[in-house]
């Protein structure tokens, strides 16, 4: 079977872009990704695309061109972008196609994501009494984790401080002003122990990745990167997830643990081989826990890792080098693809002020979202 290459990457800046629709941001990203590898939209044999709040991805053809290609819409919550990429990977791996694109975009209204408990099969009472908030889940997961593994509030502050600092160095990031430790540590308490500047916000943006078979990639002028693994997994019984009313006493590992293990197995390498990583940071506690769930450190070791700066751009395993969701916001359809974009930038050595040292050859991405699914990739030169 062929290897799957990433040959083109494109991104529409994240954040708030008034007057530009989500679809237009998606089209912008696709055009940039095509220019990146010297191809035309008419060269694309297939596309997988998704958006949760900004329209049907397949209507991008109205703007990009009605070429008759196979275009499939993907809707998979916060892992929509990761799922589009995984689908594109399979399309090429199967041998059916040798050139196509994964695209994601979004444009969410300001403020918290709207929640409708009854649409999720949850009783109306749950929303009525003020329990249907994703922020409460994240807070209670990290609260328990801090208690069990001795993680301090300082670690949560430092993770956020790092990501805002990295975002300030990334041209596509939304929040380009670094925040100090004190600004984060004294920001309003949203859901104890998580404060305002420890949370990401819904936002806007678009991202596109052009994939090719290894054979096809060799015919192109750009230096290809290779997608060595791409896996999406959903939750098992007993995993603690958002909007849980009754949590089982038996505890299962999160879907991130499953997705991560399967992705490493697929790529035939281990966490120790990864030189740059993007880990889902819905809030700074999530990034902290995901370091362990993805196999990069043992539970509780984050305290030392963060204190010693291991995940900073100049550290031994830089994490969220473009500021992650904290600095970019979370346009659901595009978020997972942004992580892939950023790893590609780093592996190409094009990170500019945020470029990690030591000439990285292997990178990793992890996206996680409601109602309990994770997508991971491993990308190498």
């Amino acid at each position: 079977m062929t290897d799957v290459a990433i040959v083109g990457i494109g991104i529409h800046p994240f954040g708030r872009t008034d007057g530009v629709s989500g679809l237009e941001q998606g089209a912008f990203a696709v055009r940039q990704a095509l220019r990146d590898c010297g191809l035309e939209w008419s060269d694309m044999q297939f596309a997988y695309g998704g958006s949760s709040a900004a329209g049907n991805a397949d209507s991008l053809v109205n703007s990009l061109g009605l070429t008759g290609l196979q275009f499939i819409n993907v809707a998979n919550g916060c892992a929509t972008g990761g799922s589009a990429l995984q689908s594109a990977y399979m399309a090429i791996k199967s041998g059916m196609f040798d050139l196509g694109v994964a695209v994601g975009f979004d444009k969410h209204p300001r403020g918290a994501f709207a929640v409708e408990p009854e649409k999720m099969g949850l009783g109306k009472w749950y929303g009525d009494v003020g329990l249907a908030l994703t922020t409460q889940f994240f807070a209670m997961k990290i609260q328990k984790y801090m208690h069990d593994f001795g993680i301090s509030e300082a670690t949560l502050v430092k993770v956020a401080e790092k990501n805002y600092g990295n975002g300030a160095l990334a041209p596509h990031a939304w929040r380009k002003t670094p925040l100090t430790y004190d600004q984060i540590a004294t920001s309003p308490m949203i859901s104890h122990p998580l404060r305002k500047y420890m949370f990401c916000s819904p936002a806007e943006g678009g991202c596109a990745i052009v994939l090719a078979s290894a054979e096809k990639a060799r015919q192109l002028s750009t230096q290809p990167l290779f997608l060595k693994g791409a896996i999406v997994r959903t939750r098992h019984f007993g995993s603690f997830e958002v909007f849980t009313q009754g949590q089982a006493l038996e505890q299962a590992p999160s879907p991130s643990v499953d997705a991560s293990k399967a992705t490493f197995e697929m790529a035939g390498i281990g966490p120790e081989d990864i030189q740059v990583a993007q880990l889902q940071d819905t809030e700074s506690g999530a990034e902290t826990m995901h370091m362990a769930e993805n196999g990069f450190c043992a539970d509780g070791d984050q305290e030392k890792w963060i204190r010693e700066g291991y995940t900073r751009i100049d550290g031994r395993l830089p994490v969220n080098t473009d500021g992650g969701c904290l600095a970019n916001g979370e346009p659901v359809g595009a978020s997972g693809l942004r992580q892939v974009y950023e790893v590609c930038v780093q592996l190409r050595g094009q990170g500019g002020a945020r470029q990690v040292g030591n000439d990285p050859k292997v990178g990793y991405t992890h996206v996680y979202g409601a109602p309990g699914l994770s997508g991971c990739t491993i990308i190498s030169r």
């Binding site: 403020g111 918290a112 709207a114 929640v115 409708e116 408990p117 009783g123 109306k124 009472w125 749950y126 929303g127 009525d128 009494v129 003020g130 329990l131 249907a132 908030l133 409460q136 807070a139 209670m140 997961k141 609260q143 328990k144 208690h147 309003p188 308490m189 949203i190 859901s191 104890h192 122990p193 998580l194 019984f237 007993g238 849980t244 009313q245 009754g246 949590q247 089982a248 006493l249």
Partner: protein, 149 residues
């Protein structure tokens, strides 16, 4: 006196399937799987663990231990939130999972709203209380947990 108004219930459970109320000893309701023994909350007609449809409604314990908690620090968006507070009158409230021994961990509002008064592992007990008054003037009863004195 308006007879129609007088005939209305003065108290209503927030959801009749959620707990036994009114009752001298009200309990939360769950369901127990007759195949694998898993307890679910709220009650459901199949087992999320083994997929069996052989499940029986059951009453849940009224005491347990605090598994995790947070403090809701801002007025939740309405809808879905149905509380009567305004941004000006809102007071943060505690939220947690209470582990009921050998049953299930249930999500609940807590009667305590400062993190200093909460500790993972502490003993908690179930209480019932009016949550709000509906458009017919009836008190809507919901449940909460509080630390055991």
């Amino acid at each position: 006196m308006n007879q129609r108004g007088a005939a209305k219930a003065l108290h209503k459970p927030i959801d009749p399937k959620l707990f036994t109320w009114p009752s001298s000893n009200p309990r939360l309701l769950g369901s127990r799987c007759n195949n694998c023994g898993t307890t679910s909350f709220p009650s459901q007609t199949s087992c999320p663990r083994c997929c069996s449809e052989d499940v029986t409604p059951c009453e849940l314990a009224t005491r347990g231990t605090l598994w995790s908690f947070t403090i809701q620090g801002f007025l939740p968006k309405s809808p879905p939130y149905a509380g009567e507070e305004t941004a000006a009158t809102f007071q943060p409230y505690g939220v947690g999972y209470v582990e009921l021994p050998d049953q299930v961990r249930v999500v609940s509002r807590l009667k305590v709203s400062s993190p200093e008064e909460l500790e993972i592992g502490m003993d908690m007990e179930l209480v019932f209380e009016p949550f709000r008054v509906d458009e017919d003037g009836a008190e809507i009863i919901s449940y909460a947990f509080r630390p055991v004195a």
